[in-house]
Symmetry: D2
Subunit: 145 residues, 4 copies
């Protein structure tokens, strides 16, 4: 019987002080780091690991990012990032994200990122078969717009 | 005779070591900081200043960001960010950006950000008239897609 | 019977990609964020919380930091930060830290930070009694030099 | 006639929004990035460049950092970092720094960093002769304690 892999992974981070700005909320660029952490967790839950992919010569480079900020996150908040695969092609994978307040589920942001598969010289290459097979695209579980 | 205000501002930054990652290029989230710096320079060139706006009780909070990464930037590169206003409404302003290698003009990234006007309690408010009048929307000088 | 509060707290973080630089290791300034996270965890374990202290009008501002880097940390490593109080005075508290590889215990860095108690106008103030009483200075559990 | 190389270099940065925290001042870890930028400028003014050193296989890794924070820096401030060489040995160089408000000269912080010369495998190595000769240690121009 095949292992059932959850198609939406969940990552929880606690907001640290360095992530805040003088508006008293999390600086918008910090969300991109959370998306990165969530994406690496998603790969890990899918049975691969970005560390191993890099050791094997693959790089996944962000080619497009789009974020819609809805409500601010604050210092010491627990934030949950849900992450899923929206689309996989031979040299490209697209992820979707919902960033939520971990305690009350309030939606803080939604996002998408496209990543390109690159070799060690940062030239376009194909995603290895085992990576493509580990990534299962699903329909967005929430509206991103 | 009215002062002619340039509708596209230019900001140059030099890539520092903290902005690189182990792929040997600038980490994608750092571009958002450059966009922020360019946007503040644009406001300054337009005769206002974000510092003064905050002191007067206004906040401009990023509500949407979209970046397309085209070529990597590297340590010690001089990077030029061109910035312009795409659209202004009563409580919202949208900026466009072209990030280029300063020496050879190669396009590194294009981006747009939408910002909302907030008061000191982070509630939606109107852009002050003098700010709206200082911001002149133009057609995108380059294709963003 | 009084609760026994551990005098050395432990915090574990996983190195994310944004923390690496093009040397292939964690950029040295990122350690200061880990120390901050560990210090806040220490306060939490001591029965107080930095979030609550700020809400009550207190600020703890770093006035001195000293770090000795011994071995590099790498992407995806689990890193453990042990944190303790070295000294408490009426308006000042000093923390010590040992940063270790979580799996094999290798010492990555040692550090100390001094923090000053400030009020909402960032003027020097006294540490509240309940904070001073919650912080128990101990002798360094490892050599910091 | 030999070129006279200034023994204290000066670098000016403008504080950007991402560098602030919810205390309304620059987050302490950001100063380490400014020190890095100032150190690279110092090497450039001394006739070498860290970019070229890395291309030639050398790495300079921070092994010790010590900062004393005296007054806060704020958003949009112009900050000047003065940097000099305190000591050079066969495999190690120590820099000193004074961080000042660019307009009024107020001292914001003082710092020292020690860097080790490493080869491409991050093993200790000797500083190349031309680098050692380009670095002229001087007595601290201000008190660091």
């Amino acid at each position: 019987m095949p292992t059932v892999i959850p198609s939406v992974s969940e990552t929880v981070v606690r907001v640290n002080y360095s992530e805040t700005d003088q508006m008293g909320v999390v600086y918008h660029a910090r969300y991109l780091v959370w998306l990165d952490v969530a994406r690496c967790d998603h790969l890990r839950h899918s049975g691969t690991s970005y560390r191993d992919l890099e050791l094997a010569g693959l790089r996944l480079a962000v080619s497009e990012v789009s974020v819609r900020f809805r409500q601010p996150a604050r210092y010491d908040d627990l934030v949950r990032i849900r992450c899923w695969v929206r689309d996989v092609a031979s040299r490209r994978v697209e992820f979707g994200y919902a960033v939520e307040h971990a305690n009350d589920g309030r939606l803080l942001a939604t996002a998408t990122t496209s990543l390109l598969a690159l070799d060690e010289n940062l030239a376009l290459t194909r995603l290895p078969d085992h990576v493509r097979q580990a990534l299962h695209p699903i329909a967005d579980p929430i509206r991103l717009e």
